[in-house]
Subunit: 359 residues, 2 copies
């Protein structure tokens, strides 16, 4: 852990390089705070000036913060905004940048009231990028998360048979991921059958799998704080002609998008490639979400692979590619991998085959 801590202090140092005299930054996003300091609590704030930094936590987290961020100045607050006002008031701060995407308006209005003299400057877009490029250690963690998840899915595959409920499969999959070392699952696992697969964010329920059902499993594991994300759409017992055809088209969109990923390409271009592949088959109207997103300490983070996004992919980014086609009332097919962007091409980190699969 000593190595990691030094590294994380370097990250903070890089952030502080951009801070001018009299300026301070205020971070609220728990994952950004973890990234910069190593503190893993779910709530707090981090104030960063040119030559100082203070980690603000409530009473639940004081001991943990001292253990996880030795040497840091810890401020214990009862009310977060009052704590921030006290910390900022104690330094000569003339301009306060703050993470506007991670602060709610209620607290913001109170902060303005408490610090009427200090101009508040929203700066989310800059900060959303700080975690986008992963280092070797981070990539290793995502790889490990994806491996744990994939092995659990392989175990659960044999349980998919007529009569089994969506929720049972989700429970068994989550259990196996965690028993194999996942700290948590990446998000509420989606196991959807038949018409439920037409809902991109279905919640597993009591529906029982029937012969011929399309079964969508969107799942991931967390390991060392890092997430994996993968979607398999399989067919129970048999697949009909239209499903086979659409599967092939979604697979083609997925494959073409992945083939285009490398450092230097704009995120929107990857989305365009997937979308136009579906459009060729007249199916783009059934693709109701973006093509992908960054994955790391959060399962959804920068960059976004969506229409018109100008951000440029850089080596070390880890992103999902997940085109889908959803036919309301009938079924949906999504195929998703998590990939590591490299100078030339990319590496697929999620281990499950995306060949058409009948289980």
């Amino acid at each position: 852990m000593g190595h990691e801590r030094t590294f994380e202090t370097e990250r903070l140092g890089r952030l502080r390089e951009g801070v001018a005299d009299g300026e301070a930054l205020l971070l609220f996003d728990a994952k950004n705070i973890r990234y910069l300091t190593g503190f893993t609590g779910s709530e707090g704030a981090l104030a960063v000036g040119k030559d100082w930094r203070v980690l603000l936590v409530d009473g639940r987290y004081v001991t943990q913060a001292r253990n996880e961020v030795p040497g840091a100045e810890i401020f214990e607050f009862r009310n977060r905004i009052e704590g921030i006002a006290a910390v900022i008031g104690g330094h000569a701060v003339e301009s306060l940048g703050f993470e506007s995407s991670a602060l709610n308006v209620e607290e913001y209005l109170r902060l303005r009231e408490k610090l009427p003299e200090v101009p508040l400057r929203p700066l989310s877009s800059e900060l959303q990028e700080i975690r986008a490029v992963k280092n070797g250690e981070e990539i290793q963690r995502i790889r490990q998360a994806a491996r744990i998840a994939g092995e659990a899915l392989a175990e659960v595959r044999s349980l998919i048979r007529p009569g089994v409920r969506e929720q049972e499969l989700a429970v068994e999959l989550d259990y196996r991921m965690r028993r194999s070392g996942a700290e948590q699952v990446s998000f509420e696992t989606i196991v959807a059958a038949a018409a439920n697969t037409a809902l991109p964010h279905a919640t597993p329920g009591d529906r029982r799998i029937a012969d011929g059902d399309c079964v969508m499993i969107d799942y991931g594991a967390v390991w060392g704080g890092y997430h994996s994300d993968e979607t398999c759409t399989w067919f129970a017992g048999r697949v009909d002609g239209r499903q086979r055809e659409v599967y092939g088209i979604v697979r083609e969109a997925h494959d073409r998008a992945i083939a285009a990923i490398r450092a230097g390409v704009a995120c929107g271009e990857i989305d365009r490639i997937a979308r136009s592949c579906l459009a060729e088959a007249g199916l783009d109207g059934h693709f109701s979400h973006g093509t992908g997103h960054g994955v790391g300490l959060d399962v959804h983070e920068a960059p976004r692979l969506a229409s018109g996004r100008q951000e440029i992919l850089r080596a070390g980014m880890v992103v999902t590619v997940e085109p889908g086609v959803y036919i309301p009332g009938l079924w949906g097919i999504r195929i998703e991998d998590t990939v590591l962007v490299m100078e030339e091409g990319c590496e697929i980190l999620t281990p499950t085959s995306k060949e058409l699969t009948i289980v």
Copy 2:
């Protein structure tokens, strides 16, 4: 489900009663939106005027919203703020109340830009209360969640023995809750042993339980959308004299607080009772959080049982009572039940005995 939907429309009707001509309310909290409409998606917005309402969702949730809220006007947005601006712009809105605790500043600033003519009025405190008093159906769901959770804990109890890791116990407990019908666990289950129990929000890790360890389990189940919340602190094999003494004091604080709960008492008074009981033993300095919180569609919701809170308990509120003593580096003891506030007294909904327990 027909019955429930009618009921949820009544809730919306009650909300709309308070809306004047030319006024509109904007809700962002997913649980409030679920409470008012039945829509269970994780993201969206609900705009409510005197004679109209619009549910705004992104592409992932259109089909689900149509199924869950039949008859409602659904607006599909690509960007939430632009969608809201379009909906509000289409009605004669002169004043827009919005949930300031559930909107981030980034979106808020964009909303102000898009609707420069419409005054925005923050109204979180009113809305935080709308779910505080539960009806019979909601109480039944919490009771069922607590029952499922308690039965799972009883099964896991036999697994607590020297050599077992915290994380293993958490995984087994979560698995059993979900296999018994919990849709989800209420929150990341805490299983902490020895010095980790001194961290009120410990994350289960690789620590193995040893003979004589204090073992804290804070856990809950979700059933029908409603949460339970309970903490047991047990002792592995044996308990030392100081632990026994402190357990008795925390138990006394817990019991006295529960004995004081009934409709008409201020929330802060319950906190004061628990805190002063610990103070008699000189332990209040080791009680670093509030005494309790409401439980419902969220595991933490209104009201808060904390120092100075003036809110009055009402019959039908469901709240936790969870005093704790944390000795950094050594151990902590927390005892938590979820209770239903009644006109006279309260009913404990969490089923596990809080007698000193050696496992």
